[in-house]
Amino acid sequence: MIDLETEQSPVRNQGDRGTCTGFAVSGGHDWMGSAEETRSAEDVIWAARQNRPGAGDGVSVQAALTGLQTNQHASEPAWPYGNPHWSEGRPKAAGETANRIALPPWRRLNAPSFEAIRDELARDCAVVLTVGMVYDAWQFSQDVIDAKPGEKVPGRHAVLVVGASEKGEQMEVLKVKNSWGTGWGNGGYALLSRDYLEAYGVCAHSIEAS
């Protein structure tokens, strides 16, 4: 199994907000970027909203990466989570050049297939994955996030892929980093089945090392 958990920044908790894209993209940038400091999740949502205006915390990864490409990505100390809320505008510190870094090259994968994601990990890229959420599958009463096709999907979720089964392994899973705190799953990480990906995968974006 390709397992790159040890290269990740600490697992965080988004709280009762729909900012999963902010944490998944920031986690990917933490991993692929050269900066010591964690990147700001609030800045990701703000950047996405510059690209696609709207009111909610929920944004697409495509909008977030496009927005960050234009505006660069502030550090967490420059724009701490929720202080201020992104809707109040980018704070002065986050706008300062010294506190922002450019987003590494990124691309959208043609399809969020298991092989495509594994190939990106093998190329030392981070993959931000968007999936439909089958409610019970994510309550973590089981070892692997899994669900039959055709289940109810009340919303979509974005996570960072940090590992995958290698070719020939019997159990085909991805390892994902969530933003629900370290109490969820195994220290904030979980395995997601190939079947789940194929049934509920929405899109995937790859971020290269800077």
Partner: protein
């Protein structure tokens, strides 16, 4: 005349009017029994008059019929047998009514729904200005009045435009119940569907056995914070959860489709979560406590939100509502006009 009764009896117009209590306060015998297509009967008499109501009708309809029959009493009308009062509310239909029926009908509307009380109800429910038939339905449940009559009275009191009120009043309440509960609509459409949301937190609900509660609360699935029941009364059963079943109220489906059309790849959007609970058809009279918290179940952190309802289960009314000592029926007994 309705306002005079309010004043004379010092009726509190900051809460729904207790029409049954008023009838008894005026010394009128009140009784309930099966009446077929008859909604109410008024029997004037000495020393006591009587009002008989259909015991199989929904409470809201019984209350409206009670207001109508009380109108006959207040105006000193002769004995009356009234059929289907809501049918008379169809625009134009009551134009052909005799004057004493129009008087009784107007009395019922103004007695149960004075403008002041409508405004109190709208404010209490957090509705402000009604914008759709669901608002009217919610108001009618709070007032304890029929949906159609409530829609009409909103126009009479100039709280909504006549055109809108006509449009809303033309919708059969059964259609609203189906839209709110979908396939979870009560088997017996005489039962009510209570649409409850954040605005009803800590509010009392006067339900009857067999009623269904559609509870819709905001949730963001991708946050991991989810609503869980911490207290479900034994005489209530959870029938459906829109996050787990394919079931969903019609109005929620519409809202979700609008949100998805904006950007189909958006992650982290809010998705209303709806639960359907049924008050057991065999439920006992009493007050039950329903409570939920919103939290990440794997942490010890404080919940981000909580929600509570006090569900007061009221049994169907049967028989005479006065003590035996107070009973003085006219010759021929109850039910004769």
């Amino acid at each position: 005349m309705a306002s005079e009764i309010h004043a004379d009896l010092e009726i509190d117009l900051t809460k729904p009017v207790d029409v049954f209590g008023t009838i008894q306060q005026l010394g009128v015998v009140l009784a309930f029994r099966p009446l077929g297509r008859v909604s109410g009967v008024y029997v004037p008499g000495t020393p006591a008059s009587g009002i008989l109501l259909h015991d199989g009708h929904p409470r809201t309809r019984q209350r409206y019929s009670a207001g109508h029959e009380l109108g006959h009493h207040v105006f000193g009308h002769d004995a009356e047998i009234d059929l289907e009062p809501d049918a008379g509310l169809q625009r134009g239909a009551n134009e052909r009514w005799p004057d004493h029926e129009k008087e009784a009908e107007a009395f019922a509307a103004w007695f149960l729904m004075p403008r002041r009380l409508l405004r109190v109800g709208l404010e209490h429910l957090g509705i402000g200005d009604p914008t759709d038939p669901y608002d009217v339905y919610a108001l009618s449940l709070w007032l304890g009045t029929s949906y159609t009559a409530t829609a009409r009275q909103l126009a009479v009191t100039r709280l909504v435009q006549q055109r809108l009120a006509d449009e809303w009043a033309s919708i059969p309440p059964a259609n609203l119940k189906r839209a709110l509960a979908g396939e979870m609509v009560p088997n017996d459409l005489h039962n009510d569907v209570w649409w409850l949301d954040s605005r009803h937190h800590m509010q009392p609900v006067d339900a009857r056995p067999g009623d269904r509660l559609v509870l819709t609360l905001p949730e963001i699935p991708s946050s991991g914070f989810s609503w869980t029941f911490t207290s479900v009364p034994t005489q209530m059963e959870l029938l459906a959860d829109s996050y787990r079943e394919q079931w969903e109220p019609d109005f929620a489906i519409g809202r979700r489709e609008v949100a998805a059309a904006d950007d189909p790849e958006r992650a982290g959007t809010e998705a209303e979560r709806s639960f359907v609970l049924e008050v057991s058809p065999e439920a006992d009279i009493g007050v039950d406590h329903l409570a939920l918290v919103k939290d990440q179940t794997w942490t010890d952190e404080e919940p981000s939100d909580n929600y509570e309802l006090l569900v007061s289960v009221k049994a169907p009314l049967h028989g005479v509502q006065m003590s035996e000592a107070e009973l003085v029926l006219p010759p021929g007994g109850e039910g004769t006009a």
